[in-house]
Structures are given as C-alpha cells and as structure tokens.
Amino acid sequence: METIESAVVGLGNPIRKDDAVGLVVARAVCRHLEGKRNAHLIEATSCGLHLIERLVGYGRAVVIDAIQSDAGVPGEYYRIDVQASMAEEAPAMTHQIGLLEGLVLARRIGMDVPAYLRVYAMEVADPHSYGEGLTEAVRLAVPRLTAVILSAEFGMQSKPVTLAG
C-alpha cells in the first residue's frame, strides 16, 4: 500500500436531497478502496476552515461535491483542478469562506495540507429541498462517477465511462 495518505472527502448535506451526492459517491469510492489503498473517508457538511483543518496531515485529497450551473444536466460531472490563488474579495458571511480561501491561508501559514487536491462535482437537480434520497438522474450517475474517480485517482480500473466536461 502506498505511504501517502489520501483523503476522500464527501461534501454535502445528507438531508437536502441531491446535495448528499458528494457523501454518497465518497462512501462508494471508499468501499472499493478498503484494504487496497491508503485512503480515508471524510464526510463534511461545511467547507472552508472546518474542512481544511480535517485535511491536515494528508498528502492528497479528492473532494466530491454537488454543483448546479445554468446549463448543466443532472448527472453530468466535472473534474476541477484546483489552482490555489489568493481570494480576491472579502466574504460577506461565514458560508463564503470556501475551499480556495482556506487552502491559500493554510499554505500561507505553513499548515500541512495536501499538496494535491482535485474536486469532482456532479450536476444535480435539487440540492435545496429537505428530504433524503437522490433524484433519479443523479442516483443513476453515482456508479459512473465512482468508477471515474477510482480509475483517475487510484488507478483502479472498472467499467469504462465517459467524462462529461
């Protein structure tokens, strides 16, 4: 097993329908990794400093989250290479301290945060309604994104899938 510890971060609210997809995919990825890779599941509902503090000590991190864009189709997903750059503007509230802001700060003050961080974001239909369970298109896309992450991040081959975007 490799020596670098990986954090597989599922980011989401488990009782806001599709917002839970990050948690669902992260759990699925870690089930496949158990015993095969030096990876740990982190379930987080809040980003920013709270998440950064939990990433201390990990060499790499894969973050999985829900996303909604104007033209996005639920079930599609993106791989986002995080380029840590200075946060441009002061946030107006605590919820605006995002991953970038937290990473930049952490690195600036010498915290031992992952050198490698990649975000996978799935387009969702309903991340706001209260309820449990994913909407259909999102639910059906979970195995596909799981396989993509296992292959791209951990070199574990599974059924071939097509990346969207």
Partner: protein
C-alpha cells in the same frame, strides 16, 4: 455563467439574495434580504421521533450545528418535563461557550476584521484574512488557527463529532468528561482566554485608536435605533445557554422579560405578499414596517443586541470590556451596526472565562449526567443563544413522542428586518435616480457582514455562497444585478 476551471459556479436559489426596489423617481424604496424557507425543514421532521431532533437539526446548517444541537436538547427536556442533573447542564453550557468562542473568532478574523484591520477603503483583494495577516503578522494567523483547532478538538471529545454532535439527550447528555480530559480542556480554556484578551487589545490598537474607524462605527449610515433581545440570567447578565428572554427598547429600558415558553406572546411574524420569508417583530409594539424606533416592533439579536439587552457580563474581564465598549459607544444602548464586530470579541472573552469557570468546577466531572424522562410528552420550548442570535426550538408531539408540529425561529430570521433596513440604508447611499454605483455591494456588505447571516444552506467546495443584489423598478421589473 462561469466556466469550471478555477472560478466557481454559483448556486443562487435563496442564497444571499438582496432585493432592492426603486420608487418612481429611481431612488430606493425598500430593500430586502432573501432567506431560504425553513418551513420545508419543519415539514421534513413531522412524523419522526422527537429525540431525533438533536441529530437532525444540526444538519440545517454546517456552520452552527452545535447551537441547534444544544437548543434541541433543551427543547427535549421541556418536552418530556425532565430536569437534567446539574453536571449535564454545565457540560452543555461548556460546549455552548466553547462553540461561541471559536465561532466568534472565525467571524472576526476572517470576515469582520478585514473591514477594520485592513480598512474599508482598501482594495477588495486585500480586504480578507490574508490582508489581515499582512498587517498583523503570520504569528497571529497561526494563533487563530490553533485556538479554533484546540477548542474544536475539545468539542469533538465531548460531543463525539463537532459538526453533527452526539451529545444531548432528553434529560442530560450522553457522555461526561474524565479528570484527565478536564485538565486538558482547562489548558485549552486558559489559552483561549489569553487569546481573547489579545483579540480585544488588537481591536483597540487597530480600530479604536483610529478616529476614522470610530466615526464609521458611530455613523448614521450604519445606525438603527431598534429594540434588542437576548437571554439573561437572574442578575440580568448575558447568558448563552439559559435564563429569561429580555427585551430593551431603543432607550435601553427594559420592555419585556419572559420565560422561553411564553415567546409566542411576545414574538409574532409579519408576512409580506411578495416573499415566503417572515419577519419577526414584537407583538406588543406591532408591525409598523421596516423602520426603527420605539414605535416599531423591529428588534435585533446577536452580540450587539445581547450586550444591550443585559445589564452586564457575569465574568470580571468581560465586564471590564463591556464597560469600555459602552463608554466608547456613548452609553447604552449602542445602535451602531458595525459595533457587532466589537461586541463579538467581548462575548468571546466572556465565553472563555465561562469555559474556565466551568472546568474549575468540581461538579463538571460528575458521572450524574442524565435524568431519565418519565412524563408523557406534548409540547416543548427552548431558547438558547447561538453566535448569530436567539435561537428558538418549539416541538409538539403525540403521546408517543412523534412530532406533529415543529416551529424554529433562527437568529437570522429575527434579524431579517434589521438586515433589510441596514441594506436599505446602504443602498440609498449608493443608488440615485436609477443609477447603481459600483461601490454598492461594498457598502451593503459591510452592513450585511456585521450580522453574519446564517442561511440554511447546502455546502460548497470551490463555490462561495454568492451575494447578489437585484434592483427592481416600481413595477418590479429587474433593472440591474450586482453579484459576487
């Protein structure tokens, strides 16, 4: 739409949306803050066992889950009419104080602080925590991180998890603390006490020493003379966990003092036909619109309000800070919205002192931490103070403890009307004759930021919760959108 490389794609529905309505002359008529509907949450809980609520309600928001967890636990005590043992109450109060302390530091150093430490006129790229570090030094940033980390580790030990605690039960808590943990936590409390004093000194050195900043805090643009609400103990001192709800009028005189169970006699919710958001107001004064003053039922909660509503602080160092606060602010009550930031630091100091007091209390390691409920549940009410203000949980159940009705009034809800008024004042300064200034969001944000609104939100990785201001004409046609 932003492309996905580095820039975030934003979710806009119900998140940080400010609506500004113009009159016939193109000047600001009204401004409002959109807050996501919590009614859906209350519906989601129906039919579930009430004792699940301390587990469910922290999931309203990932930023202040501890507040909901503790308020919910207290509500279950009232629902089952069970009195927790003294040690359990002290442990809950310890958790609440610890959370209040670290959350206040998060807000001050990352949000409010930059407005002052770096300066409101500084470029946006510098008005953030990194700009603060540049001004005050890297060592300070390290201490902020350290104090928050240690406090959260303490909370994790006490509650199982910080974000979704497994701690409160009807009649008590699930876990006490050992003597070894007590000593470890006491070290944390001493460190955070020292840091809390430093933070206030920093505020004095960087903010109060500059007359321009003091003038800004006292300026009319950021002043509303409202009522103020907060929990107080039997001596009318600020209390974050227990006590009576006290309301003072814009002159600082006690207007009401009531038991949490009586909140419905004092707080009503105004509804506007164009919005699902409700605007709580004082029933006995009445709803007079989005206006301040003694004739208007609008009131405020959270740090500034708590200091105004109380007669003092229960711990010596915080009391000294409280007195200095009102001395500079020109007496009680203080109406300057930007003073919320200073009040936050006074409260952080109180929270640290209270942590130390509780950890030096021999009873804190008692193993008597739960009283089993025996009564049949029907209705429970609890009020605690969250970092962002007064938090009300009200549950109704059938005889088996299954929820039939839930009512939550969260801090940002109480402050909805005041935030709108603050936004409106800022907007009026920036929008003239239909022309929207580029500086609109900056001035609006400074007022908005003081309250640190906490929306029930989904989470974000790269995306920040967007702040969007929409400007409408008299016929509610969208004229302009400012977004960040």
């Amino acid at each position: 739409m932003k492309t996905i490389t580095v820039n975030p794609i934003t979710r806009l529905e119900g998140h940080g949306k400010i609506e500004i309505c113009l009159d016939d002359t193109g000047n600001v008529d009204r401004a409002f803050l959109q807050i996501p509907e919590l009614r859906g949450f209350e519906t989601f809980c129906l039919g579930r066992p009430a004792e699940e609520m301390p587990r469910i309600t922290p999931r309203i928001c990932g930023v202040c889950p501890t507040a909901h967890h503790l308020a919910s636990s207290k509500c279950l005590d009232d629902l089952w009419k069970v009195e927790p043992p003294p040690a359990a109450k002290k442990l809950r109060e310890l958790a609440n104080s610890a959370f209040m302390n670290e959350d206040h530091f998060l807000h001050f150093f990352f949000l409010g602080g930059p407005d002052f430490v770096v300066g409101p006129e500084a470029p946006a790229a510098e008005r953030n925590i990194l700009g603060v570090i540049q001004k005050v030094g890297m060592e300070i940033a390290g201490k902020v991180i350290r104090v928050r980390r240690e406090v959260r580790q303490m909370l994790e030990t006490m509650m199982g998890k910080v974000i979704h605690p497994l701690f409160g039960l009807p009649g008590g808590v699930s876990r006490g603390i050992t003597e070894e943990e007590r000593q470890q936590f006491l070290e944390t409390a001493n460190f955070t006490l020292e840091f809390s004093q430093f933070a206030l000194q920093l505020f004095e050195d960087v903010v109060l020493s500059k007359q321009a900043y003091v003038d800004l805090i006292l300026s009319d643009a950021y002043t509303h003379k409202t009522y103020y609400m907060g929990l107080v103990d039997e001596d009318n001192h600020v209390n974050f966990y227990d006590g009576m709800v006290r309301v003072v009028d814009p002159e600082g005189l006690e207007f009401a003092k009531f038991h949490p169970r009586d909140y419905k006699e004092h707080i009503a919710e105004h509804v506007e036909p164009w919005s699902y958001v409700t605007f709580p107001f004082l029933k006995k004064v009445g709803w007079k619109g989005f206006v301040a003053g003694g004739e208007s039922g609008v009131y405020r909660v959270a740090p500034l309000a708590r200091l105004n509503a109380a007669d003092g602080m229960a711990t010596p160092l915080a009391q000294a800070a409280y007195e200095q606060f009102f001395d500079v602010m020109g007496g009680k009550p203080a109406h300057g919205t930007l003073a919320y930031h200073w009040a936050r630091l006074v409260e952080a100091l109180y929270a640290a002192e209270r942590m130390k007091e509780l950890l030096e209390d021999p009873e804190i390691t008692s193993t008597e931490i739960r009283t089993l409920p025996t009564q049949t549940p029907d209705e429970g009410v609890a009020i605690t103070e969250a970092p962002r203000g007064t938090l009300i949980h009200n549950y109704w159940t059938d005889g088996n403890g299954i929820l039939t009705q839930v009512n939550l009034i969260v801090a940002t809800n109480h402050n909805a009307a005041p935030i709108a008024m603050s936004v409106e004042k800022a907007a009026k300064a920036m929008i003239k004759d239909g022309e929207v200034s580029e500086g609109l969001l900056n001035m609006v944000e400074m007022a908005f930021r003081s309250y640190d609104p906490c929306h029930a939100c989904a989470t974000h990785a790269l995306g920040k919760m967007p702040l969007e201001a929409r400007v409408y004409d008299k016929a509610h046609r969208l004229l302009h959108v400012c977004r960040k």
